[in-house]
């Protein structure tokens, strides 16, 4: 994923281009104990079940919740250090917060909502231009409306724009799509992708939807019961077999590819990635366009030789790396590698034994379905 380098906030380069967040929160019946070192750019997804502490973690970063013990450094700017008695109140932190419900002020028009935060930021700190945000989120035609005259998707876009217009050094998004139906979600996702590609503002994004994470995130933090159980680049983390994520129906990998060629005779498009390529139904995007797709472990079958008599179009040679127990006793998960791109296959234990699959073995992976992450 490339980040277009038309930087808007490039004056902000702290000693370290990173976010350091350490929080300890103890409520009766809930404990959050995290120590995160996150990249200071791109989208980082906080992923986990409800009750895993994602929202508490985000609220601590925003200063809406004060951790008993905490340390927070955003690209070189200290926002909290309990040991030194430092706690910058929320309204003095250069952050943008997008809540699950857009939370627009009902007594103010869209324009006045958008201006609310912007006006409270000194002119020389305003780095995100008004026109750019209007275009990025497609809301210039809504300015005169009152919030109750907007659809859910429009409201959320205005909420995102309102946060962006304060020129935040960090954008926090708490499941911004959770309150929307699938149609509205799909309406808003492209705008979020553009945010990622066009603005150089680090985003912390809470989600419990693997598809959303796969589509948007560069970096992922897995939380469970208030603790970090895994953290790392999206592709590597999604392909790890030691995480509970692997033990679900939806286990699989995310692959970042680009459009390599279009076949107009058969109406197919070839997507190329490091280590191989796959064919999918004809895509509208131009050649060279980056695209992410997901391959579910249940959609891969394995063969010891290249099958010629099959209708499956995507056959890729891969090396077996690892075999582990799957979610049911009948299945195993096989981790493979195509060059440096990982793949996971979920096959029956019986097939595994019959094919005598062992680590290091060369296999043919038959990919039954490729889920492009924009549908």
């Amino acid at each position: 994923m490339s980040i277009v380098t038309e930087t808007i906030t490039n004056t902000i380069t702290g000693p370290a281009d990173s976010i350091r967040a350490r929080f300890q929160v103890n409520y009766s019946g809930f404990e959050l104990n995290v120590d995160l070192n996150l990249p200071g750019r791109g989208i980082t997804a906080l992923f986990g079940h409800s009750g895993s502490g994602k929202t508490t973690c985000l609220r601590c970063i925003a200063g809406l919740e004060q951790a008993t013990d905490g340390y927070l450094d955003i690209n070189g700017e200290l926002w909290q250090d309990t040991a030194a008695g430092i706690f910058i109140p929320t309204h003095k932190r250069a952050l943008g917060y997008v809540f699950q419900e857009a939370s627009l002020f009902p007594h103010l028009s869209v324009k006045r909502n958008l201006e609310y935060g912007m006006r409270r930021v000194a002119t020389n700190v305003r780095k995100v231009p008004w026109d750019r945000v209007m275009k990025l989120l497609g809301i210039s035609h809504l300015l005169d409306r009152m919030p109750n005259r907007l659809s859910g998707g429009e409201r959320q876009r205005v909420g995102i724009a309102r946060a962006l217009l304060t020129s935040p050094r960090l954008l926090l998004m708490d499941e911004p799509l959770a309150a929307l139906d699938l149609k509205r979600k799909n309406e808003i996702l492209p705008y979020l992708e553009r945010l990622h590609d066009e603005l150089d503002i680090p985003i912390l994004y809470i989600s419990h939807s693997p598809d959303e994470v796969a589509r948007l995130a560069d970096h992922i933090v897995l939380l469970d019961q208030g603790k970090v159980i895994a953290e790392g680049g999206l592709q590597e983390t999604m392909a790890r077999l030691d995480l509970p994520m692997a033990f679900t129906e939806n286990a699989g990998v995310v692959i970042a590819a680009r459009i390599a060629e279009h076949d107009d005779v058969y109406h197919l498009t070839r997507l190329e990635f490091s280590g191989g390529s796959v064919l999918v139904a004809r895509r509208p995007e131009p050649i060279g366009q980056p695209l992410r797709f997901r391959i579910h472990a249940r959609d891969i079958s394995l063969a010891t030789s290249r099958a010629e008599d099959t209708s499956i179009a995507n056959l890729v040679p891969a090396t077996t790396k690892e075999i582990v127990e799957a979610d049911t006793p009948a299945h195993v998960l096989v981790k493979l590698e195509l060059g440096n791109t990982p793949l996971i296959a979920r096959i029956t234990r019986r097939s595994c034994d019959q094919l005598k699959i062992v680590p290091g073995m060369q296999l043919w992976a038959q990919v039954k379905a490729v889920a492009l992450l924009d549908q």
Partner: protein
């Protein structure tokens, strides 16, 4: 019209009293209501109960204690005398003070409800948009609480207009200074002047009806975020 000069004076005095009391109560009641709506202190219960006392106490009880408190031997009376202001019972100022206590719950409770209905979220949103607490209070809380403020004003005003017992206790019955409509009606009835009593009493019925009508029509406005 069958209104005497004294009747007209009573009407004006009542309106003056109610306006002043409502204005004072909005100033005093807003911070109290805000505190009651936001606090997690154990004092929330006791203070809420004290504010609500006039709802259940006979006005004569409240009037009696205020009389004692502001009288020549009461602490407030000693203070006002030391300041050279004399004593407050049987003056218009004393009446205003009594009315403020008497109508307090009618202003504080609607305000408190309105503030509570707003919830935490708008305050949090405003904070993430760089608004400090005061800024947020004036630009978000007060506009969102507008229906509650209107209700509080109407109820505070109307309730002050309708007070009787407490006026009699600490105001006495001094024409032009402490004689309000309700006391004047009482005077008319005592003197068997039923026609005059009718004019004032009927006027009060109309007034109260239209006040309540205005109140219920304003209930369309609801606080909360969209």
């Amino acid at each position: 019209m069958h209104l005497s000069e004294l009747d007209v004076a009573a009407i004006w005095l009542t309106l003056e009293l109610a306006t002043l009391t409502t204005a004072l109560l909005l100033c005093i009641g807003t911070p109290i209501a805000w505190w009651l709506a936001r606090t997690r202190s154990f004092l929330k219960g006791p203070i809420g109960a004290v504010v609500a006392l006039p709802l259940v106490l006979p006005p004569t009880v409240l009037g009696f204690y205020l009389l004692v408190f502001m009288g020549p031997n009461g602490p407030a009376g000693q203070l006002t005398q030391a300041l050279g202001l004399g004593t407050l019972p049987f003056t218009f100022t004393g009446l205003v003070i009594g009315s403020v206590f008497y109508s307090m719950p009618f202003v504080v409770q609607p305000l408190q409800n309105a503030f509570e209905a707003i919830g935490d979220r708008p305050l949090e949103v405003a904070a993430t948009l760089r608004a400090n607490a005061w800024d947020c209070f004036f630009t978000i809380v007060l506009p969102l609480a507008r229906p509650g403020i209107i209700t509080a004003s109407i109820l505070g005003f109307a309730h002050t207009v309708g007070e009787f017992g407490i006026v009699l206790m600490i105001g006495g019955n001094i024409p032009g200074r402490t004689r309000t409509i309700s006391v004047q009606i009482f005077n008319h009835v005592e003197a068997m002047e039923f026609t005059q009593a009718h004019w004032l009493a009927g006027g009060m019925v109309f007034f109260s009806f239209f006040v309540l009508l205005a109140l219920y029509s304003s209930r369309r406005l609801k606080p909360g975020l969209s």
